[in-house]
Amino acid sequence: VSEQPAGGDVAADAAGAGTTASGATKVLGLVALVGIAVLIPLVFWWSPADSDQKDLVRILYVHVPVAWLAYMAFTITAVGSAMYLWRRSLWWDLVAASAAEIGVLFCALALFTGSIWGRPTWGTYWEWTDVRIVTTLVLLLMYVGYLALRRIEGDPHQRSQRAAIVGLVAVLNIPIVRFSVDWWANRTLHQKATVRVGDTDLDGLMLFTLMFSLVVSTALFAWMLVHRFRVAWLEEQLEQRGLDLALADRRAEADRGVDRAVGGALR
């Protein structure tokens, strides 16, 4: 399908064309940018080093938020999938797909930053017998599979339905990842949760930095999700418009054929 507007659509496209941004997303983006500007000195200069981990604790200010965002994105995918199966709503289907793509990015970053943190802490970048690492990798691969499934050619409804089922099954891995360090404590190098309800291993400015990083990254995630959804919506519209144009061409061709047949019969 061509991505150039048809001649008749050009005038209609003039207002608000050329961007997926709106007033709300601009404010959200600005909040995220200001937050990042404050977060950088907070992480690298203002917050103190940990007594055990020393400065390596600064990696946790990115590792924990990206892992949190991956969990949140995949949970949104599950909610969108359930809503799609219930309501057959294109909106929910695209929300699920958009969240899954962003979740894959953050899940990959969680594995990467964890690996970088693991080298000086555990003496290895990767450990295949570690349940937290392996279950997180399985989580990532499940959602890569989910995205691959969405790219299969065929009936859009059937494709979305299958993806929704995968989205609902894959989310069951999140509690397994989350609690793996408790359930199989002797099969992981990974520390238990740093921050728990009513209890934490971090104090003062370190805890504030982690919480602030979570808030800023969540704002960034919201911005990304809205924009990714709008891109998905536009892609869907372009695909449907291409189908409509192809259908109109076929109808016009069929009408011309009928005209010729009628004209021939009359002669």
């Binding site: 150039q4 400065d55 943190w117 080298r119 000086p120 709008r230 891109v231 536009l234």
Partner: protein, 59 residues
């Protein structure tokens, strides 16, 4: 301001790679959004504002 800390290279790699990956993804989103917005007629460009309410079902 100087960065005097232990394991500096690990910390910088983790942060720089993460920041670049997210920034590249965001830039690609904005670019794709602009390109697609120009290609899709205004009548089909719903959800580009925050006031759209009715939800179509998949055809």
């Amino acid at each position: 301001m100087t960065l005097a800390m232990t394991h500096l290279s690990y910390i910088l790699v983790a942060w720089i790679v993460s920041a670049l990956a997210v920034a590249a993804y965001c830039a690609r989103l904005v670019h794709r959004g602009r390109r697609l917005s120009r290609a899709v007629p205004a009548a089909r460009r719903r959800w580009m504002t925050t006031d759209a309410t009715d939800v179509p079902t998949r055809r």
